[in-house]
Amino acid sequence: MNQLKGTLTIIWLESKRNFLIFFMVLLSIIVVSVIFSIVGIFQNAFINTNAPVMVYAAILGAQLYRLTFNYGISFGVTRKNFYYGAVTGILGIAVTLALLHNTIYFLVDKLLETFHVELRLLNFYSYLIEESIVSYLWLDFTILLFFLAVGLLFSVIWFRYGLVALYISIGAFLMTLLVPFTLELWQQFIKLLMTSENLYHFGWLAIISVGLFLLGFPMVRSMNQYAKDKGAA
């Protein structure tokens, strides 16, 4: 239990600063956009907060393991326990990101509506499901968890096998996604997932994330400390 607490503390100490910076920047952009809309510089403008949060989640996931592993292992934590801690931390980050993101979205949306500001807050999820706090939260959580998990897996591959292996796996990942698009069956399947409420109801992104977490685990178990240097080389 103490190892888990320790690992979570390391993750929190590592991510709290960039967490704060990210949300400060996001809020600043929203505030500036609102001001520009009020004074008339922006007309019929819209802003989207999903994309930056997703990109941030992917970057955070990719950086987290690389930045924290060395600290944890130097304090004598086992790789297994550290990975459990990292995955738990990522779950916590996904929940926190989803909560903060949706709080900002609904709050700003309400304010814009109340004060009749001509700025549209665009949310991707409005194309997928009915707008509600719970549905947006769940969807946001699964999607952010997926981005964090992908980032984590790539980070572990980089750390364990180096830069070349990272490029190969990113290539393989993209090919897996893109090549089947030439197949009509695959196109229909993706359409089914993305254009219906399946994305919300099945939470399949959360299930894939669990798979990605499991995939990274065996790589971590036999990882040597200096592998970081190899990865960074």
Binding site: N2, Q3, E14, N70, V77
Partner: protein, 294 residues
């Protein structure tokens, strides 16, 4: 495992990018002692310490610490504290964050001892790691090592960057700890053995990935002597190939040799025999080219 042997290394090898950095090492470390680990740069000291502390896995051989393999073994790792040279500490952390982590990760963590050591080194708990000088960061690493209360505490070059006064505080603290607390073994790697000489019981000398010497420090030091006098009075009595250091001027010379290299009794009235500083002996012992002509 015999009761007092906390480390048993058997025929361990380790490769780094196809280079064999540890070569078939056999080593035992007993409980309660201060061990010195000496070697030139690249001798394999840090690798050996990382193997001992489960940071890396041996490619061959067997390592047992407290009777079990250390790699991925929580039972062992919670009893080992390894303070690396430039110990990984996030620059954004405050000192009290570091102490919190110590409390979580080391089962014998002693908060009051941590505070005592912070005070000794004049470190303020609210200070950020990035605001500390190199010496102060090293001092903070020492605080972790001392407060961890781990039965096996390993320091890699612990005095690098410390000023003379802080070094003294550290040496005194280590001695006190060793005298007052049973069941604590320290391993200190160093390039400068002379500073540690009064504290270390045994010294392990590594050279090119192999253990060259492993014995009590006094015994190792007594192994080498300087022979000074006329070359004709010295050279016939020693094994020329085994001279560790040779300084000659005209017909006079000074030769560093091990006692085992002296083949016959010399005329003491013509030859001066002096002890060799340990650091010099180890340097020559691990040096490939040994002849110095003045």
């Amino acid at each position: 495992m015999s009761n007092n042997k906390i480390v048993q290394i058997t025929n361990v090898s380790f490769y780094h990018d196809q280079n064999q950095v540890i070569r078939h090492i056999n080593l035992e470390i007993e409980q309660n002692g201060i061990y010195g680990l000496w070697g030139r740069n690249g001798a394999g000291k840090t690798t050996l310490m990382k193997l001992l502390t489960g940071l890396i896995k041996p490619d061959a051989g067997n390592i047992k610490v407290f009777g079990e393999r250390p790699f991925e073994n929580r039972n062992v790792l919670q009893n080992i504290c390894f303070i690396q040279e430039n110990h990984p500490l996030n620059p954004q952390w405050r000192i009290y964050n570091v102490l919190t982590l110590g409390k979580y990760f080391y089962k014998n963590w002693d908060e009051s001892k941590a505070n005592i050591w912070l005070e000794r080194f004049s470190l303020h708990p609210k200070a950020k790691v990035k605001s500390l000088s190199k010496g102060m960061r090293t001092a903070l690493s020492i605080v972790i090592g001392m407060a961890s209360n781990c039965p096996l505490t390993i320091f890699d070059e612990p005095t690098n960057g410390l000023d003379a006064a802080t070094r003294e505080i550290f040496y005194e603290g280590i001695l006190k700890e060793y005298e007052n607390i049973d069941n604590r073994t320290f391993v200190m790697s160093t390039h400068h053995i002379s500073e540690w000489q009064r504290m270390i019981g045994n010294i392990i000398v590594l050279n090119e990935g192999e253990i060259l010497l492993n014995d009590e420090i006094d015994h190792i030091q007594s192994e080498a002597v300087y022979l000074s006098g006329s070359i004709d009075d010295i050279k016939p009595f020693i094994v020329i190939e085994e001279i560790l250091e040779e300084k000659t001027m005209g017909n006079m010379g000074s030769f560093m040799v091990e006692r085992g290299s002296i083949t016959q009794k010399m005329d003491r009235s013509k030859v001066t025999i002096e002890s060799v500083p340990l650091q010099d002996y180890l340097l020559r012992k691990t040096q490939k080219k040994k002849v110095v002509h003045l």
